[in-house]
Symmetry: C2
Subunit: 349 residues, 2 copies
Amino acid sequence: MATLKDIARVLNLSITQVSRALNDHSDVNEETRLRVKDTARAMNYHPNASARKLVSGRSGMVGLVVPQHRKIGQDSIFLEVVAGLSTQFSGRGMQFVLHMMAEHEPALPVYQRLIGKALLDGFVLIDPQDQDPRIDFLRKSGIAFVVHGRCGKIIDYPYFDIENEQLAYDLTTHLASRGHRRIAFLNGLAGRSYVTVREGGYRRAVQDAGVENLPHLHINGEMDEATGLTDTVRLFTGDAPRPTAIVCGNVRLARGVFEALAALGLSVPGDVSVVAHDDELPGLRASAFFPALTVTKSPLRDSWEPLADCLAGAIEGKPLGTLQRLGRYVFIERKSVATVLPSKSASNR
Amino acid sequence: MATLKDIARVLNLSITQVSRALNDHSDVNEETRLRVKDTARAMNYHPNASARKLVSGRSGMVGLVVPQHRKIGQDSIFLEVVAGLSTQFSGRGMQFVLHMMAEHEPALPVYQRLIGKALLDGFVLIDPQDQDPRIDFLRKSGIAFVVHGRCGKIIDYPYFDIENEQLAYDLTTHLASRGHRRIAFLNGLAGRSYVTVREGGYRRAVQDAGVENLPHLHINGEMDEATGLTDTVRLFTGDAPRPTAIVCGNVRLARGVFEALAALGLSVPGDVSVVAHDDELPGLRASAFFPALTVTKSPLRDSWEPLADCLAGAIEGKPLGTLQRLGRYVFIERKSVATVLPSKSASNR
DNA sequence: TATCTTTTCCGAAACGTTTCGGAACTACTC
DNA sequence: GAGTAGTTCCGAAACGTTTCGGAAAAGATA
């Protein structure tokens, strides 16, 4: 591999000057700069990342640490995350390191080790929990990072997030405004920050609508088809007051809900109205549901670019203000919601 | 971060001796070694990977370069590959770099750049093609690599592979031995080395069975359900002589075949016998088919450990003999094959 | 002519590690 | 007591880059 020394020898220049020419420093003759860049290209020179990291502290590498889990082979969201982030960073000439932990390995020591080795410039954090210790840890280590989501009270770190509170509020309120009084919410696994935040939005909407809050209508769980199906069956077979509408945390849950309702002989939206948040998961189109599903839409795919932007910015030391971004979502009304007549909404079954 | 210098200062030793103690060299007092290791742990020292790479040439990082493609969100094999390899390397204290290329970006310059930066110790190559230029390129660059599969005539590089020729031969011969004379083979995309090799095994089996080779019965294509379905429909609706048995390149194709046959009103194995190779893809169990599918089984999941082994060995400079491994497969006979009577096999439709 | 700027260049040090070639010391052999 | 062998240590160089603090040359100003 060609080094600075090789180029310097060929051009009869000092290593210093070659380095400065390649890095566009000011005190190098324009003609020299061109000569240097040309021969660098000709000798297909690439700066040695290790040497550069050693002296400048930058390696151009970022990391993602994720726990291995049994069902990872079917976790299409994980796939989306990895493919998206990798594409983003590769496109910026950065290296993307994927570190999979053993299933229940504690995360902090892993970050500790990786930081110790000093080869990563920063981390992407996904799936933040309500009180996520990783954030504090990384903040204290002084390494750059960006969070996909927000958590905690003091949000003084780079993040990309969508307005989960408002989105849950909008979905729930949409149903309430159509006369629904008992609205179920199939939310994600408790503990995840976006799940908690969405729960807040749902609560606020229920309160604003002046509806009694029935705890059994808010359900936490895995966000897959099977969960959507079983939760729906439970909602409509017990003795508890049954909902007339369901808000689903994502489209996959909604898929399960539709199946369960069909199996129970209930029609959408005739008997039950359904809405969902739509991350645009691969192989599931809300518009192709029957009836087409009313959603708030905010493609997960749009996250990777701002996330990579923010992390790159954080590494370069840009001010925090430019590193905190919110993604947009749109409300798309389709055919899965019906208006409830006052009399019907008062009946119990 | 603690460095060798820090430890040396604390223990009143030279940097040299601390380094040698930590790396278990012979000429350091046993008691010193312990003292060094203890304080290193106490100061939570981790060797700086860049510095190490710079002088020793090893960074402990390996890379996988894959092209981005439209349907990557649903490519569960890709997911399996990434999760499997990452877990393996992370478990060995190595870093796994995932580089996604733009959709039709040429691969060689990407490898060139990555090698130039000199931060990776080696590469994992997946999806080798019949004449894969990457292999020659990496060989010439002198960097370590391991191939998932084999290709070309001179196989003088580390690889992990399964016996694709023999496996296709076994599946086809199994059907021939049950009296089938027209056996279709739904193979993968032409050009991939394992597809070509399997085609060879199929050809050999057909020849050994003394059966006429009907070109229209060997079909190349994507290995998904949709392809299995459409290919089967085509096989059973044209004027060409129809098969009495089908060999599927994987279980997902077989799924599509089963669906198509059901739609066509043909029974398995009464009207058509079906066998497949089983990589144990997530969410698809050959034993849960109805009727249960006869397969050659060789879980993809068993590839990652030997692949990582071979690459690590290649980086350490182990002899080639230990770096070329073959995975086993087992033949599992179930219920999807019937014996054909001579009279029936002679009829045309 | 002497002093000051500006432009263009360079030597040397530094980053943290590994490793080569010895040095110092002890213990043993003849 | 000289030589040999073994054990335990260390200084210095090297890897390839960036950057600090100047230096040399040329032109402008006094």
